[in-house]
Amino acid sequence: MLEALSYQFVQNALIAGVLVSFIAGIIGTLVVVNRMVFLVGGIAHAAYGGIGLALFAGIPIFVGTSLFAILAALFMAFVTIHQRDKIDIFIGLIWAVGMALGIIFVDLTSGYNVDLMSYLFGSILAVNQEDLYYMGGLLALILLALLFWYKDILAVSYDSEYASIRSINVPFFYTLILILSALSVVVAIKVVGLILVIALLTIPIYIAQSLSSSLLSMMFFSGVIASIFTLIGLWFSYSFNLTSGASIILISALSLMFFILLEKLR
């Protein structure tokens, strides 16, 4: 195990795991308290359209996917801001259409046999230096947004009607949370894959919620818990030669069951 740590790709995987865990912890917290879990799930699947588009157009995957995910987030923000009751229909729509677009784009891409599985279930061991910069940059962006707007985001998340009376721009922050979620989904795809993104954005958050008395501490605990799951999952996948993304999620789910059991017993 220690010997493995000397490999560059293992080091990259560990750094990526922690970076993505903190991104998922912070954004997952916002997504959960704003009840947008499946909205973001829809964006995650729609992002596959971006992967197809990037392969087809020959642009970097992160760039193509991010742009596509942001467009999906903007679309969702636009159609759901004033009619949140119709949200399910639009989630279904972008979910299916995004994936269909991705598959058609890949069909149209000549002479390139993509490993679809690596996007569906993640490929953390293939993380390179450039990916790490992107992840670090995103985490910095999220922290900056919190530094400037924590109080506004808190007000909008807790009581959006009251926030609007205080003339806080609710649609702006709603859209901002969705866009940051879209970008986070893109990096989480690299680690756990788009099928499993939702688990990373919810399981650690659920545990953190009952341990936290403020939104900020919930973000922090979520990040720490997600990091622990990710690192244990990676070790597990390395030791038993299993798919890393699925290992991380199963470790998280088992821990969650254990946690719920402990809570019940207390």
Binding site: V33, L146, L147, F148, Y150, K151, L154, A155, S157, Y158, D159, E161, Y162, A163, S164, I165, R166, Q209, S212, S213, S214, L215, S217, M218
Partner: protein, 243 residues
């Protein structure tokens, strides 16, 4: 409550409001003065909440004029939203605009001091650092009142403030309003007729149109000390008469 320097804080003139083609409010005229304790009553769907939203600026009138002062504190009807949200009592209070103009992360010292003072006033100081989820309905109500008071408003507006708390809690809340009314104007939207008799100085009955009552005039008609007044009769009377 007669004060020499009475002043109109909110004035509604010929106000109309409709959703699509359905008229919700028709030709509403209402002046709210310093230290009024106004109760807005009326049947469900009569337009009470709409009127409140117009005053708060959440909705814009279809026709007519609203002139009002800036400093209004608001306590929403449903204080049981997001009860498992990870937020401390004091953070909820400081959600309102405080003394400090600080935009950045973290709270200013003067805001924290003021939030604690106000929590003390509503009897919730010992809960300042507790998670909102651990509070009862009545306690949460007090926290929402503290939040509305945080920006030191001249008017406090409450939408159905007692709908989610038990009888004992209701009495406490109204006693608190009475105390607050010594310093500020209070507007309460309520189903609860008993507050009209005990606390309100003016009553506006809204059912599309508004009929206005001064409770001192009413008091001469009904001797509340002796007879139990049937709430239905009272409502009927308020709806019809033009006093």
């Amino acid at each position: 409550m007669q004060t020499s320097n009475k002043q109109t804080l909110i004035s509604l003139q010929n106000l109309f409001f409709s959703y699509d083609k359905e008229m919700i409010l028709e030709d509403i005229n209402l002046d709210i003065d310093t230290r009024d304790f106004l109760a807005i009553i009326g049947p469900n769907g009569g337009g009470k909440s709409t009127l409140l939203k117009l005053i708060l600026g959440i909705l814009t009138p279809t026709k007519g004029n609203i002139s009002k002062i800036e400093s209004i504190g608001y306590v929403p009807q449903n204080t049981n939203i997001n009860t498992d949200f990870p937020i401390k009592v004091i953070e909820v209070v400081m959600m309102a605009q405080g003394l400090s103009k600080r935009k950045f992360f973290g709270y200013a010292k003067e805001d924290i001091t003021q939030a604690k003072e106000i929590l003390k006033e509503v009897g919730m100081l010992e809960y300042a650092d507790k998670k909102i989820a651990l509070l009862s309905g009545g306690q949460r109500q007090r926290v929402m009142i503290a939040r509305a008071l945080f920006s030191k408003p001249e008017i406090l507006i409450l939408d159905e403030p007692t709908s989610s708390i038990d009888a004992e809690g209701q009495k406490q809340v109204y006693e608190l309003f009475k105390k607050l009314n010594e310093e500020m104007t209070i507007i309460v939207v309520s189903h609860d007729i008993s507050i009209i008799m005990g606390y309100a100085s003016k009553v506006a009955h809204i059912n599309k149109k508004l009929s206005f009552h001064d409770t001192s005039a009413l008091a001469t008609k009904i001797d509340t000390q002796i007879n139990h007044v049937c709430e239905v009769e009272l409502l009927e009377m308020l709806g019809k008469c033009k006093c």
